[in-house]
């Protein structure tokens, strides 16, 4: 009966079994429906894009972690999930070297330079996207056409910017946007239905909290709704703002990136709402048409500030702790 072993262990002695790789696997599972829609629409182009992003992201991660003398943590699947997510917001026919450059940006600037997963102040996927968008704007707007009868020749927000609101109603009614098979743009902006299924999976499995997506969609709807109520012939409807472009993709998959989003519930709601409002502002008054990615990217800079909004501890009198100057 006497067995002397070194068995010191901190309590609790039970664990939920949750792990980083399981959360990342949930993210990958959530992205599968929309990836399948992408493969259906763009056939080999989509397969090529996804294959290059995932494989190069994994290779870059191994290379950089070896270079920085860190334990190689490819098995936590974060590179795979990031690569898949990046594939959803790039044009399917992008040249291969741009894709490899993008995954390098994603792993190096978005993760490893800050000390690995969890230390990054920005979403690596968005860093890669922003870098490519600024460096190669023409290539990033070169959209292929799916092999279907599509009247439109541009993504919804380009039509809104160049052709006006009337053409939107012709080319992109809300049902088309929701089903997403006849929408021009990256894979992640195609089927909103598939994205919502994936988002629901993330919320059910508690990989993300519902606060950020719901607050972001509410921010988009409220802010665009104000202008739509003022003049429905001049401004697009809130439903269009939610269903068109990458709003749902950004709300469920990009804004909820763990380390670049706040950790408290009030902070999450402020974060999501701000990102939503900023999305509409940039869509209306900036030259960018894919404003939602910029909006999330800019809002993640404010995350440290929003982390200061925290509920007071159990038994403290005030409901919220007001962030002080120090």
């Amino acid at each position: 009966m006497n067995t002397s072993r070194m068995i010191a262990a901190a309590n609790p002695h039970m664990h939920s079994g949750n792990s980083i790789s399981r959360m990342m696997l949930n993210l990958i599972i959530a992205l599968i429906p929309v990836s399948m829609v992408g493969v259906y629409l763009y056939q080999m182009d989509a397969v090529r894009l996804i294959a290059i992003t995932i494989s190069s992201a994994v290779i870059w991660e191994i290379f950089l972690q070896k270079l920085f003398k860190r334990p190689v943590a490819v098995m936590d699947l974060s590179a795979v999930a990031g690569g898949l997510l990046l594939a959803l917001i790039l044009p399917p026919t992008l040249p291969w070297w741009m894709i490899v450059l993008a995954t390098f940006m994603m792993i190096f600037l978005g993760k490893e330079i800050y000390g690995g997963l969890g230390c990054n102040p920005f979403n690596g996927v968005l860093i890669a996207w922003v870098a490519l968008k600024i460096s190669y704007p023409m290539a990033m707007e070169n959209w292929p056409f799916p092999d279907r009868d599509i009247y439109a020749d541009m993504p919804p927000f380009d039509i809104l910017m160049y052709d006006g609101l009337f053409m939107i109603q012709e080319f992109y009614p809300l049902s088309t946007l929701f089903v997403g098979l006849d929408v021009i743009g990256p894979i992640g902006e195609s089927s909103k239905m598939a994205l919502l299924i994936g988002g629901l999976w993330l919320v059910i499995t508690r990989t993300i909290f519902w606060h950020i997506p719901v607050a972001m969609l509410a921010g988009v709807a409220l802010f665009s709704g104000i202008f739509w109520l003022i003049d429905p012939h001049e401004y697009a409807s809130p439903m269009f703002h939610i269903l068109a472009g990458g709003t749902i993709l950004a709300a469920f998959f990009l804004a909820t990136d763990f380390s670049s989003s706040p950790i408290t519930k009030p902070g999450m709601i402020v974060f999501g709402f701000f990102a939503g409002v900023l999305t509409v502002i940039l869509r209306m008054w900036s030259q960018w048409t894919e404003a939602v990615y910029f909006a999330v990217f800019i809002t993640s800079m404010l995350t440290p500030l929003m982390d200061k909004i925290k509920p007071s501890a159990f038994g403290k009198k005030t409901a919220f702790r007001i962030p002080s100057g120090r």
Binding site: N11, N18, L117, C119, F258, T264, K310, A313, G315, K316
Partner: protein, 431 residues
Amino acid sequence: MNSVSFKGGLKLPVIHTGADRSIISVPPGQEVIVPMKQDLGPECKPLVKKKQMVQAGEMIGESPLDHGACIHAPVSGKVTDVIRSFVHFSGKRMSAVIIAKDGPTNKSRRQDKDSFLDSLLYGGLVDYDKDTVPLAVKLDEAKLNHVDSLIVNAMDVEPFFSSRIRVMTEKIHDVLAGIKTIQEYLNIKQVYIVIDQQYSGLISDHQSRLLQDVTLVPLKYKYPQAIDYLLVKAILGKEVLCTIPCRDIMHSQDIDGLVISVDTLSAVGSKLVSTERVITVRDSAGKIHENFQVEIGTRFSEILEACSYELDPESRIVAGGPMSGQILADSSMPVTKDLQGIFILDKEHIVQNDPKTCIKCGLCVDVCPARLIPFMISGFVEKANYDQAQKFQLSSCFECGCCSYVCPSHIPLLHWIQFGKFEIFKQRSRL
């Protein structure tokens, strides 16, 4: 009455808890070890010498201060040794009395002292809770605070344990007598008994007729619901600031309502000296789930033998529950008053702590019932920045362990928080 009283917490999988298993009495073995410090009070001084004969119920340890609970011999017999360096499962070194059993273990009644609190102290009564303080200290504080409501806790703090609901159903007369005693002493107006919602069927009609004067509150089971603070919040609607300076150190609790567990009350009501304990024994696989009434000083191995449980050498024994217990090296540890139960971790359920970096997923913030930000606190403690950790209200932590349970990076958050509390306590006591 709202059944969910706090945000956060854990909905643990429902496993057979043995709540329908009646309490089995286990006779002590040939030799019992009685440690001299079984609560958070001061260590008792052994009153007996080697080769002395003791009677069951005889006082063998007296507290050096006037607010410590005394310790009594659980069996009649001969003192074979008084050792100085016994290591208790909490890691503390203390003296202990070893008694070889000789003759029957008849119970002896508590002596009536001139004050009620003294008779509790000399009867060796402690609050059988996560923080085991002498019951007299707790009642004294309650008297000073003019507490007018008593909350009887029939829910086990630890998940998968069921000793309290068994005490509630089997010793209801003792419990009611205990409630009455304390009610008279403190002028309590309202008595609530909280039980787990899933066990509310175990209270029979006859028993519920006995409980007419008290309010029976079924609460939904969520892991740290049975912590005193959360019970006060659930029943009285008040939030009391938690200020546990450090685990294993006696502290005052400024709780408006008095929370006492049923096993304490049944010990008060039985009018016997405190030498026995009702504990749950179960393992992580669910092969064994029993409730035992054991004498203080019985070794764990004897209890396991009594229920003919084969201990796998690869599995580990946890003194206390799965959430706040201590892993032991072997099964020779004796039962003490601060033991809630014995949990056996099977090989496949042993948590492999391989901490990775925090990914700031926010799960620990989500489950924290005290509304803290555990990963920030643990991060600051890890970097020995205790001032910042205190700004994040380190001392308000209930030490329930929900954060460590959910952490996907397997960071021992609770360990860091307890370590930080201890370091801050050390710094303060040095000043």
